[in-house]
């Protein structure tokens, strides 16, 4: 009777590889899992400036979900996420398809589209802020040209300010989405295009019914990256509106940062970050599960 092969019994050749990976494993365990557990622990205490050992159960979570600014932040994030991810996907895909037509000056255009992503949003956010400011920016410029009726004042409007942040961040990220999807498009076998051409299928139908489904993997990757960008949305808000006017463009990451340092409330900030992590996992876990199921079915490693 043979003993079941244990996970710790490694072949000699694998030993050095395992040792080499050890530092990485330690970093993952300590720096990622460890800090997550630490935040979880702190969120159950009454910590203010310093960590504390007095446990208060779920009191911080209760306070969090009675806090109007936090609830508004979650609302804003949901609205932002839907629009930002949706628009980035659409614009990025259209740009990728456009470049895929073997247009002239492809290299130049690719650089132009990708350029916003290469710049720090702290800087470009300020430019957006000036552009959208009704007294200094576009509105003023257009009105001095004689178009008095034109109003570009969304950034100071309670109900529309989130859309300006969507606009600015889509401008920044869609070039990046384009680059990823273009790589996906280029990896599609030329045979497929030839076959479609022989069958006389219109180009747009090839894209929609054949190419797009084949881009599934790339799109899933883009989705996860955009979702990450959504959850950690902070610099765009801080540089464009600082959460204003009033609390209208507050987001969870800013709530957490404000409470972590300025307001010396470690526990409430930790509770916020735990909630944020859990909701992120709730969105991403099904995706990864479906992906691994799919990969097993089609026989990828």
């Amino acid at each position: 009777m043979t003993a079941p092969r244990s996970w710790w019994k490694v072949r000699p050749g694998q030993l050095s590889a395992s040792v080499a990976l050890l530092p990485l494993a330690m970093i993952v365990l300590v720096a990622y899992a460890g800090t997550v557990l630490w935040s979880l622990r702190v969120s159950l205490t009454d910590a203010r400036t310093f960590p504390s050992d007095v446990y208060v159960g779920l009191a911080q979570y209760e306070r969090l979900f009675h806090n109007e600014r936090w609830l508004l932040s979650l609302n804003n994030l949901a609205l932002y996420g839907l629009l930002f991810i949706g628009l980035c996907m659409v614009v990025g895909l259209l740009l990728a398809v456009f470049i895929d037509q073997k247009v002239r000056g492809e290299g130049l255009l690719r650089t132009v589209f990708l350029y916003p992503y290469a710049m720090s949003f702290v800087a470009t956010g300020l430019v957006w802020q000036w552009l959208l400011n009704p007294e200094l920016g576009l509105q003023n410029a257009v009105q001095t040209l004689g178009f008095d009726g034109v109003q570009i004042d969304w950034i100071v409007d309670q109900d529309k300010v989130m859309y300006t942040i969507v606009l600015a961040t889509v401008w920044q990220a869609s070039g990046f989405v384009m680059a990823l999807l273009l790589a996906g498009l280029r990896s599609i076998d030329a045979q497929i295009w030839n076959a479609a051409r022989i069958d006389g299928i219109p180009t747009w139908q090839v894209y929609v019914f054949i190419v797009l489904p084949m881009l599934g993997e790339s799109i899933a990757t883009v989705f996860v990256l955009l979702l990450t960008a959504t959850v950690k949305l902070f610099d765009a808000v801080v540089s464009m509106t600082q959460g204003g006017p009033g609390n209208a463009s507050e987001v969870p990451a800013k709530f957490i940062m404000d409470h972590l340092f300025g307001r010396a409330n470690l526990a409430l900030a930790s509770a916020g970050s735990v909630v944020l992590l859990l909701s992120f996992l709730a969105l991403v876990a099904p995706l990864f599960y479906a992906r691994s199921r799919y990969q097993k079915r089609v026989g990828h490693p």
Partner: protein
């Protein structure tokens, strides 16, 4: 070659200075032009008292305080660290992470010297944990003389009603009545000014210090909130998100009439070569009993057992409170000294006015942060900024404030 010689000379100078006296590494967030000029007067005073000053300037108060706390926790504390005159460092005191400076306080007689409000912050359970360096008054009402003239306002407003009347006239003249920077902390300042001037000292303390639920939900406080909201109608469309100094420059150029802001705004006027009394006016408050709101900066001294470092901490604390340092520092910073027994000849008109008010103890009052924890102050700010920017029923705002300040 010359470079090398200079370097050698510099090293020598630093080396010999090190031998000369106690070395103090000071963390602060004074990085703008006027601010660093102010901190230089502090360093000069310390150096001429025989010490060696090591400057660690970190932009943004929040950031500087976070670095100080992290270094204290990490066992590599600075000699001194800047905080605001507030409860920001109370947790540090309670955790036993600061050195008291009791003998300096006793030698200089802080109990008699310092305003009660400042004492209540630096003295915890009979020990002294922070050296106050200045007093800022956050709720000055500034006005542009040019704008007032254009709107036909002959005399400075003497009451809240007259202020509103002046704002109406400014609007009628096509000017921006109230130059406002629409950021939460600035809305908090406007609110504090309204609470002090419309509500009065008693109501102010009932709300900020006692956090009395009945008062907060009462009629007098409702009137304060409504006046606060009324001020919002005098701002322009570009206000949201505007920086305070951009709002001040609207006064400097005569585009706007009034701004409610701390005395650091004087620095902006000074840079534009405008002087108080001539180009702009400053009103501390309305009426003979109007309170002078105290805000300011202190230095705390993190715990250490190194006798040399303790010596530096003591020397630093005593230098900071000497009259000459206090005046020199505040003249650059735009604040006023924490002690009123100083020579006011070199101060500007507004500072002199402030110092005169400060001599009446009954008119001294702390700003919100002196009575509330950073967390409570933040929660209050969230509610106020929402009320300022949105149409909310005032009763709901009263209820929310009462809940946020519940101990």
């Amino acid at each position: 070659m010359l470079k090398f010689a200079r370097l050698a000379a510099l090293t020598f100078a630093l080396g010999s200075a090190h031998a000369a006296g106690p070395k103090a590494e000071v963390i602060h967030w004074w990085t703008s032009g006027g601010e660093s000029a102010a901190v230089k007067t502090l360093a000069d005073a310390y150096i001429s008292a025989g010490g060696v000053w090591v400057d660690t300037a970190i932009a943004l108060g929040e950031q500087a305080r976070a670095v100080a706390v992290n270094r204290i926790l990490g066992g590599n504390p600075p000699t001194a660290a800047q905080f605001n005159t507030s409860k920001q460092f109370l947790d540090l005191v309670e955790q036993g992470m600061l050195n008291p400076i009791d003998n300096v306080a006793q030698q200089q007689g802080w109990d008699k010297l310092l305003p009660e409000t400042v004492l209540s912050v630096v003295r915890v359970k009979g020990h002294y944990y922070a050296a106050p360096i200045n007093i800022h008054m956050p709720t000055w009402i500034w006005y542009s003389k040019a704008a007032f003239k254009q709107a036909g306002i002959a005399t400075e407003p003497k009451s809240v009603d007259e202020l509103f009347a002046a704002l109406d006239k400014l609007r009628a003249a096509g000017l921006v009545p109230l130059a406002h920077g629409g950021q939460p902390w600035q809305e908090n300042i406007v609110f504090t000014a309204v609470l002090a001037n419309v509500g009065g000292t008693e109501l102010y303390l009932k709300v900020f210090r006692d956090k009395d639920r009945q008062t907060i939900e009462g009629e007098a406080f409702k009137k304060v909130l409504l006046s606060f909201k009324r001020l919002q109608s005098y701002t322009d469309k570009g206000a949201p998100g505007r920086n305070w100094n951009d709002a001040t420059s609207m006064l400097i150029t005569g585009k706007a009439g009034v701004q409610i802001m701390g005395d650091w705004a004087k620095g902006e006027f000074a840079q534009a070569r405008q002087s108080p009394g001539k180009d702009y006016g400053c009103i501390a408050g309305f009426g003979a009993k109007s309170p002078y709101i105290i805000q300011g900066d202190v230095f705390v001294f993190p715990k250490t057992n190194d006798p040399q470092a303790i010596k530096a901490q003591q020397l630093l604390a005593s230098v900071m409170l000497t009259p000459a340092t206090q005046v020199a520092f505040s003249n650059k910073k735009g604040s006023i000294p924490v002690r009123t027994d100083v020579d006011n000849a070199s101060m500007d008109l507004c500072a002199q006015q402030g110092l005169a008010i400060m001599k009446d103890k009954s008119r001294q009052l702390g700003n919100g942060e002196i009575y509330m924890s950073p967390d409570q102050n933040g929660a209050l700010t969230d509610i106020l900024t929402a009320y300022w920017n949105k149409n909310l029923p005032v009763e709901k705002v009263q209820k929310d404030i009462a809940a946020a300040l519940k101990n």
